[in-house]
Structures are given as C-alpha cells and as structure tokens.
C-alpha cells in the first residue's frame, strides 16, 4: 500500500528503487501505519494513573478511566508542549495543559475548555489526535493510524494468540536497533548459530543444530483477507547442520540429546504483520513464544516478549507462573534472547543509512526473510512517515 512517489523523509530513495518488490519494507523505517501494536502490559497501568509511551514516532499519553484505557497524543494543540511534562488532571477523564489551560477529554480528544481563555471559539470545535486502545491477554494494544473503521485486533496478532485457554506472561524492554532488524533476527533460521553457547541448554534437553536449511515446502505464505498476514517456516521440513567444517576439519558441533526427538529446539516459527513472531514449542514443548518488535523511532524498538501456555485449571496457571518466573524469564527471555538483542544492536549501523538493504549479501536460506519483506511490502496497511507526526 506504499506510494512509491512519496518516499518518507529520511529514507534513501535510491535504495527503495533498487530493492524492487520490497521497497515498501525499506520505506517502513518508522513502521507500518494503521496497525495494532502492544505498548505495555495491562498491569503497568492502574486505575486513574497515566503513562507515556512513544510508538512509531508518536508520543502518547494513556490513562485508565473506569477500567478502560484511553490514549491521546502527548502534545498540546496550542503550542506543542508535552502534556505529560507536568500533568494537570483536574477531573477523572480530562487532562489540562500546564501552560495555558487547554483541556482535553481522554475518550475523544475533544478540546473541552481553555481554562485561561474560556470564551475561545476553539472550544468544542477542535480535537487532539486520539488512538484506539484494546486490551487482550494482559497487553495494552494501541492502533496507530487513521483508518476507519479500525480493523479488528485479531488481524494483527499471530494465530492462536487470542485463544481463551492461553495464559500469557512476559516482559518488555527498549532495544537500540530499527524494528526490522528485530523481526529479521527472530525469523532468521541461520541465526541459530549465535545461540550455540546459550545457557538455556542447561535448563532443558534439546537438539540444537548450528544451522538449518529450508527444503521445498517449508515456507508458506498466509494472506487470508480476514486474518493475520504472515510467513510460516516449518522446521520439520529443514535440513539441520550439526557440524561446522573449515578446510575439511570439524571445528564446532551442535549439541544433540539422546532423549529428545526432532531436529531443533523449536518445531517452527512464523512472522506476522505488523512485526510479531510466533515460535512454536519454545522455549520448551507445550509453550509458544510470541514477541513483538514495536517501532519507537527509526533506530529503536520496544521488544515485547511473551510466552503463552495452555491452561485449564488454576493449578495449571500457578505452575506456569512459577516456571515462567524461575526458568523461562531468566533463561529464555533474558539469557537466550539476550544474544538476539545484542546482535540487533550490533547490526544497526550497517542499515542506518539504508544502504545495508542493498549492500548485504544474503545466502540461500535467507529466502524466508525475503519472503517476509515482500509480504510485508504488499500486505501492510500503510507506511508511517515523519509528516504523519505533525
């Protein structure tokens, strides 16, 4: 849906043209517009409190009012100051700008008064940008864009994520790389090489090749108009690589367990618009990792890491919560994924001026990444631009 004659400011047009059918992906330095993004966990915003987040370059201020979360742009219409720098909330559902008293209703963005100039004809006639908000599985999702009607959240999360019997726990942190380097790191089958020394191996028994190559049929595109759009990669249709050779000698070996079947630590991954990964049977059989790479700006993203577990009883919930805190959070989300965060940040400089997209030298197994770039380019609902922030 990107308009090729209107490359966003700060994106290299020459590169957009060179990459051909995934130019929209190169343009999406600031993310895809008109999509849902998780920005915080629900438990981080109590009744009556406010919270400020920046997503796709938008700084917004959120408040929970009678249980529901509302979000408006954190920039006064009058002279552009952040409302959050000195939040004046005189009523439950409004915020008043500290500078001259412009007062906005959280639910609608409406300018309901100007305390220092109550006769102004602007009152009731102007609105600050407001953002649709939904909560699901313990996450606060915000819709960045102006599409109407707003598409359902279910189109922007991986299949299964909204299942009622799925219990989801997680954490988030800011990473100093563009969001696409997060997404590609996650979906990249070859990058398993970086995890060869992971401490996670001390917490579960697994087969962990040093690489693997997709065979025909492993990669599937999912483009159902009513559902999420993504690319699936089935690891049961991969050739695992167990030994690394240099000049004919084995120099490194992937660990293999006598007790475990399957060729890899996971049975497959998939990546979905607007930038969310699903890792099946990971960090352990019976679990699913869902993780988002939410653009903050051109060079940072929020890494929203979650693990889902099917639960039936309260005991199941207690068990999962315990295992999450004692094993999967410290050794999976922190330990194992710590390598990924480090890699994304080290990769960032090469892509910062966009030339990386043409100067890189991909190899055959990277075709799954190319499939994602192409799908994202044709199936996104818009490219976020700096001028959308004005």
């Amino acid at each position: 849906m990107s308009d090729e004659h209107d490359t966003p400011e700060g994106v290299n047009e020459e590169v957009v043209k060179m990459v051909g059918d995934w130019g929209g992906y190169v343009e999406a330095k600031l993310g895809f517009r008109n999509h849902w993004y998780p920005v915080r966990f629900s438990k981080e915003l109590a009744e009556g409190e406010i919270l400020t987040v920046t997503v796709l370059g938008e700084q917004m201020i959120m408040r929970r009012i009678d249980g529901k979360v509302y979000a408006i742009r954190d920039r006064c219409l009058h002279r552009g100051v952040p409302l959050s720098r000195k939040p004046d909330c005189y009523t439950k559902d409004t915020i008043t700008c500290w500078y001259h008293g412009y007062t906005y209703r959280f639910q609608t963005g409406e300018l309901v008064n100007i305390l220092a100039a109550p006769d102004s004809r602007l009152i009731g006639k102007r609105k600050i940008q407001s953002f649709p908000v939904e909560e699901a599985q313990g996450l606060i999702f915000v819709f960045i864009g102006d599409m109407s009607p707003t598409p359902p959240l279910s189109q922007d999360v991986p299949p299964g994520f909204l299942d009622e019997d799925l219990m989801v726990l997680g954490k988030h942190r800011d990473v100093n790389s563009n969001w696409r380097l997060g997404a590609e790191n996650g979906f990249d089958t070859l990058h398993i090489f970086i995890h060869k020394d992971t401490t996670l191996r001390h917490y579960r028994d697994f087969n962990f090749p040093i690489g693997h190559t997709a065979l025909p049929g492993a990669i599937t595109l999912v483009e159902d108009p009513e559902g999420p759009k993504g690319v699936e990669d089935d690891f049961s249709k991969h050739n695992p690589i167990w030994d690394g050779l240099i000049d004919g000698n084995v120099v490194i070996r992937g660990p293999r367990s006598n007790n475990v079947e399957g060729t890899s630590a996971s049975v497959g991954t998939s990546i979905w618009l607007p930038g969310v990964l699903k890792v099946n049977s990971f960090p352990a059989p019976g679990l699913t990792q869902f993780e988002w790479y939410v653009p903050i700006d051109e060079s940072r993203h929020i890494y929203v890491q979650t693990i889902g577990c099917k639960v039936e009883t309260e005991e199941d919930r207690i068990d999962f919560a315990h295992n999450f805190e004692t094993t999967w959070k410290p050794h999976g989300l922190d330990g194992f994924n710590g390598d990924d965060i480090w890699a994304r940040e080290v990769t960032e400089p090469f892509y910062q001026d966009d030339y990386g997209w043409v100067d890189e030298m991909l190899c055959e197994p990277d075709s799954s990444i190319l499939a994602w770039r192409r799908l994202a380019s044709r199936a996104n609902r818009g490219i976020q631009k700096r001028k959308d922030l004005r």
Copy 2:
C-alpha cells in the same frame, strides 16, 4: 527588512512562505541584525580583564581598557582559531594570537603586527571585525551588525529604561530555547496560568487571575521612527478570568486579595525590538521589570533579567538593593521566572524545525503575540544569517 528570496540557511522556506506577513520573524532564528543587545553586567568586566560571549552566533572577546569596553570577533583572521583559547595580551590595548602572532588592536580591530612575520604586507591593511559597545544602567550593550552610522541605543531599549533616576539591578543566565520562545513567553497574557502556584504570592499580596483576555483598545503598536518599536498591552483593558471550569464545575481558582486593587499582578506589559520585555508595576508596585532574550545561537538565549526602581536618595538606593537581594531576586527572578524558563525549554522541540510556527493552534488572546510577530517582521533592521558569521 528581510529579503524573502534569501531565507537563512537552516530555516524552513516553506514555513516562511506559509506565515505570510511575519515571515521575517520566522527567518530570525538567529536574531535580528543591526541592533543593540545587552550581553553582561558592567561589574562583570573589570579594568584590563577579558571576557568572551557569544551573541547571534558571533563569538566575541571584550576587554575593558581605560574604563571603556571594546569587543572584537574571537576568531583569528589567519587560521580561524579563537584568540581566547590562550589569550596573549602583551600590551594594554592589543591581543596577540597564540598560534602565529597575528596582533589586533581592540579599539579598531586593526592588524597591527604579525609577531612571527613582521614583514607581511597584511599588517596595517586588514581588520578583524569589531563591534560597537556602550554601557548603560550597569549593562554592557553590543551592536551586532554593519549599519553605519550605528543607530542610538535609545532606539533599542524600552521607554523609561535609560531614565537617569532609575536604578537597575539584575542577573543573567543561559536558557536552552530559541530567543523568540523567551520573548513570546514573556509577552503572552495567557501564560499567567503557569504561575498559578508561584511562591511569589507569599511575598506580596496580589490579585492573580488564571487568565485574562484583551478587550478592544488594550493592544497598541508603537512605531515612532525616532524611538523604540514595540507593542503595548494595557491590563486595565482586560477581562480577568478567576475561575477555571471543566464540565460545569470549578476546578481551580485564581487568588484574590481584599487589600489590593487591580485585576492582575502587573498593570501591563510591552515588548520591543530587538527582543526585550517591560513589565509595568512588577514584581511589585513601584518597580518595573525589564528583560532581554538575547540570541546565543538558534537554540539558546541569554536571559538578561533586570528590575528598575526610581530612586532619589542614597537611602532609596540602599533600600532597593536590599529588597532586590532578599526578595525580588530570589522570589521574582529566580522563583517566579523559573517557571518561565522551564516552559521555554519544554516548548523548544516543537519549534526547532520551524514547523511549529504553522502547526501551533493559537487562540483569540494570542492576537497580541501575532501583533508582535508582525511588527518585528516589518520594523527590524535585518535578519542575522549564518553566512554573516563567516
């Protein structure tokens, strides 16, 4: 006096065109050229000492010689180094560059010798830029420009400032915002809202509305060709706002005193080229606050804050000096104006790329600010440009 076909480097031309009759003001990111600016207090520069300041992007070095202050550009003609980085003053009225010995006379800027190359034909034939300097009311004023003859200082200060029976005391500090956000913050009648919690109220009894709106006749333009050019705002012709309402309920009230007449803490303000505010009867009856917003560069200004008091006797002088140190400096210039400084710095990012000048959403009482922008655009003596610094 700005030339619309020669927008300064670093100023957004699109915005200059959009704002129409105050394009010159948008262009004046680095200040207005060919005007007088106070840069330091006289007492800060003793006989024989040197001082370096940056004004409108110009770094200059000043010295007091036989009582009089002289200023030259702080950048050697030869290879551009700052003379001040290692000042070599071998005689009372010269400075020698530490690198190769180019030697300049403070009074004229003349290159009087090159110590390492005394046969050079440049000697006596070249001049470093020198700046006219005047002292008045305890302030050192510098003229930035090349207009000849230099206009009188009296045209660049508010009426009354040079009165012989006025005693002036003050302080200065650097503020991280463009100078125009300083000027507009000061002249802005609505911004009284920000001072609603000021500690100054504990030091004087006053009526302090949360806003006020000019009635017809409150705003007057002053454009006498022989005098200073400015805009005056008479608070006796204002509607004060005492109560702030949201959804029909009073949520905030401005303090009112039974002992004081008048609707505001001051009886009126005025703003003058090149960027100086006069606040009548402030910080208390019998006093006048004069304050300058002197551009340092595009994103910083020197905030020169002074209070004037009419004095007749030595006892009057001692009284004012005492009150200044114990009350008006700590609770006015520091406490009350501290809110202003904070507000300017928070406003800066919105205007930094110039789009703020068109993206802002002014309301009716801001018409006084628009009057100032228009007057400044037509009555200034020139726009400072980066290339003026080469």
Copy 3:
C-alpha cells in the same frame, strides 16, 4: 588525480571550485587513496593476535599469522556486522562471523565456508576486501586502495626513512582534527611561535626564533616519478625573527644560546605524500623526526610519531633507546608536540564545513603550505570517498 565532477559526499563543492589548483586537497577530507599508511607498531601485534584499526574510514581487522600480518575489512559480507565484536577464530588463518558463520581466510579474504549453511553457492565465490600489509622500521603499513600492482612502500615514506642503519622508535595517539590540520601544523614555519614556552628548551641548548621567513630558494618541490613526492623547506635559507614588537616596543624575545650555531632548532623540514613530515636534526642534532597524520575519518587522525637515529653498534642502539625513553619521548613527542596536538584540535572547527579553506587569511610565509597543497592535489593517487567504504 581527483575528478572534479565527483566531489566526495560531505565536501563543499563551492569551496572546491574556489580554491582552484588545490581543489583535490580540499576534497581529500578522508585522505588520499591508494597510498601506504602506518597504523600501529609491529610490537603491538603478537603472533596469533588480532587488532582492529580504522583508517581513511575503513575499519579493518588484522592478524599476525606465522609472523606476517594480514588485514581484511572488519565487516561481514552477509549482514554487515563487525567480525571483531566477537571474534571466532577456529583456525589459525580464518575468522568466522559470530552471527551466521560466514568464514573468511585472512590472506585472501576468500569466503571459505558458511558454517550454518555449508551448501551455499557463495562459498569460494566471494571475497571480503583485503588490504596489502608491509612492515618496515617497526611499523605496520597498510595500503588503502585498489590500485594494481600496489606501488612500493618506498614511494610513500620520506627519503632516508628506510635506511638500514636507521633505528626508529616512536608512539602513536588519536587526535581530534582532520589529518590536514596535522600536516599543515607540522610543516608550517610560522607556528614556531607556539613553541616559544616549550619545556624542551630545558633539555637541549638551542636558538629558537619566534618566527622565520623563507628566502628565495628555500622551498623545493620533489616530484621524481620513482620516489616519494614532497616539498622541502631549508631553514638555512630563512630569515629568523628574534624579537616581537608591538607599537615599537619589544614585547617578546626568542631564546638564543652562545654555544649553538644555526638559526633554529631544526635545519629544515619536508612533507611527503600521503601526509608525513620529516624534521631534520630534530629533536636534537643527529636525530630525525618522522611523523604521520593518518586519517581515521573526516575529523580525527592517528598521530604516528617516530624518531630515527643512525646506529652502528649494539651500544648505539642501547644509548638511543635510553635517550628516547628518558628525554625525547617525554620532552619531545609528549611535551613539545603536545602544543601541536592542542593547536590542531582548536583549529578543527574553523575548517570543519570546508569554508575555512577560503575564509583563512594566509600571509607570505605560508607559501610553503600552499606549495604542499598544490603538490598533494596533483601528485596523489586518488581521493578517498565515503562510497569507497560501501
């Protein structure tokens, strides 16, 4: 050899045109390409160890293998990450990228395997950039460029530097200025003025004028096609300046010794492509200082300082090593040249946007610097550009 229709990114084209016959020098902000540069001392890289340096914008990783040093670009072909961030050397002469296992041979740059994807058709068909390396006089020299065959090192060092009976000792440090301000500071005869207070005078008896002017015949161009290209300045053909006068009075005097002949601390200097200075009889008679200004990027250089001494016996070597450590390093390379480093860094801002090259006001004795700029512009082997780094 510079192409005037292809000014490097980040260099001001207007300035290049204005300077006329030394435009290539202005363009060479990132240095001259296709030349040899010393980057480290041989003793800094032991057998099997690796070292990372950045020269002319190129980040490279070097390893010593069986005594010989090899250098390749420190940026993986695959996705651009620095190999050095987590060096995986599984064999003596290869390095494997930590991310996906691309493996390169140091001697050739050849992609010898991809550990995570050993079936890739890229293997054996791609090369990472490798750089010719030579060692001489205890320094590791790297050739930055793509000229073939590689010109001999002897064309890029000052005459005499490679003499077999010359013993060379030195140090290096990074300086925050463009390399040309280093080169010009060194060759600049007038800058002797900055050394008037040097502590070196306590360690040797010398005549030290505050300036000196070349007489006809002092400056000689050397442009032998088979040898190094440079400009020589013979101090015996100079007029020394002993007294500095202002308004007819002597204000400063250069020190003169009764025990020493000659008009200066050195008998002459010369400067050579690609940016190396030779100072004859300095820091003391019998010694020669050779120093390089090796571009790191547009605003930094490696200052490689060496002193050469003719030696015949082992005792000569021990004597020189002792004197170097106790006198010439602390009082020459650190003390005396410390003034030079400071001056270059203070000069940097004036030249950073290139306008300094036209806004400077050179005087007659600076003609030697102009001779160097012209020679460098016509005799260099190429201009390094940002796009050479892609």
